[in-house]
């Protein structure tokens, strides 16, 4: 059984590499966007954690803010963790990319840019994936339909 590391346990580990605020949920930890690369790098390289596999990156539009969720698994220790970050500014949505840490983020970050409109700074090829260049808006945003109508 994959062990799910609780938010509290994870926050003890990453407290040292976080420069901004850190909020702890039951099974997740919310950090600020600027801390994402350092936290991810720490999670991947620390021997007792070794999150070498990025399962999924998801983005949710909660209207007041966007939430980006990283599901990571360690294939070595068979445990998993959920890391989150929030973006409050709807017009200036950007996050640092983690594609240098896990190549698996490549298409997933492009998909989020395409459908949710979150820019990943440092991604080498941030183009739309599923829709064509020039498509108006980002369809998974909750205000998309109003925009089109």
């Amino acid at each position: 059984m994959t062990k799910i590391i609780s938010g509290e346990e994870l926050s003890i580990h990453i407290r040292g590499v976080v420069s901004g605020t850190l909020t702890c949920g039951e099974y997740d930890v919310v950090v600020e966007g600027k801390d994402i690369p350092s936290v991810c790098n720490y999670l991947k390289t620390t021997p007792e954690l070794e999150f070498n596999y990025l399962s999924a990156i998801s983005a949710v539009d909660f209207i007041e803010y966007f939430e980006v969720i990283y599901h990571m698994t360690s294939l070595i220790h068979n445990h998993s963790v959920v890391l989150k970050t929030r973006i409050y500014d709807r017009d200036e949505t950007s996050l640092p990319s983690v594609v240098d840490i896990w190549q698996g983020a490549d298409l997933q970050e492009r998909e989020i840019w395409d459908l949710m409109g979150i820019k990943f700074i440092g991604h080498y090829n941030l183009k739309r994936v599923l829709l064509w260049e020039g498509f108006p808006g980002h369809p998974l945003r909750k205000d998309f339909l109003e925009e089109v109508r």
Partner: protein, 367 residues
Amino acid sequence: MPLKTEPITVNIGPQHPSTHGVFRIRVTFDGEVIIDVDPVFGYLHRGSEKLAEERTYTQVITLTDRLDYVSSMTNNQAYVLACEKLADIKAPERGMYLRVIAAELQRIASHLVATGFLVNDLGALATPLMYCFREREKILDLFEMLCGARVTLTYMRVGGVFQDAPEDFWVFLKRFLEEMPFHIDEYEQLISENEIILMRTKGVGILSSSTAINGSVSGPVLRSTGYSWDLRKADPYEVYDRFDFDVVVGEQGDNYDRYKIRINEMRQSLRILNQCVEQIAPGPVRTNSPLLFRPPVGEAYAHVESPKGELGFYIVSDGGVAPYRFKIRSPSFINLTILRELVVGLKLADMIVAFGSIDVNMGEVDR
């Protein structure tokens, strides 16, 4: 004076028999050798994630059928598991066994499609494919008995399955389980030792396990590199912890290993199915959770080992009748992350085989 050469870009697809759907790749060649690829996605994009936000939880099951349309059962399974995790309900034993039976049959059907099309890509047009489809047809007949549909099944529900299997189903299933090992032997006889296939696949398109893990590759493609990671063993869902089966791994991660691993996984699926038939006991197949399902506010991520890899659903609920956010972690899409590493340095004909051996399904890539 050396001859001046310059790279040439060739467009393949979206309408091409080897692209398994509507996939387009722009390939740059230096002479005959590939130096760069640029996959173009989206020709089958239907906006499933957005559509789900306007539908009830039960209606969304029909959308999951249409993701990977050759393995609808595992799509259903991953989705209902995510819903059950969200609402903290558990299907009754018999329901779980029926789901495992359906999922393992679907795995065999999907691997048959993958094997058949791989040989198709190698130039053996249609005939070997029909050998594989002959057995797939029997599985579709079994599905028809279970739920009345053959491809878009919608068999599973939150809290169990739609209905119990009819009496006849068990007779036909047992007959299928008796026959199938001989059919797999037949494929092996036709393909595994075939000299042309060995020449075209052995040592071609090698993928290392470190590249695969770093690229979030999952399923048979990851296991073919020699890394043993199967969610049925690593994170058992339903009743998988009760079965005795092996995780099949490859040796060097070439095209041949990716073919061979699917053949061996079919044998393991048969082992699981035999144990299912022995262990299944009478009982209810579904909890009485309503069809207009309203989970509490929260979020859940559930994943299963689909025939293509780790299929995950991330669902966010606001307490309403429709999911607030419905995200699909599709294995076919993410397995294509390593396409460039896999095919750069190969020739065009080998690229077609390497792409076929990843076994992507465009319905799932574009969603």
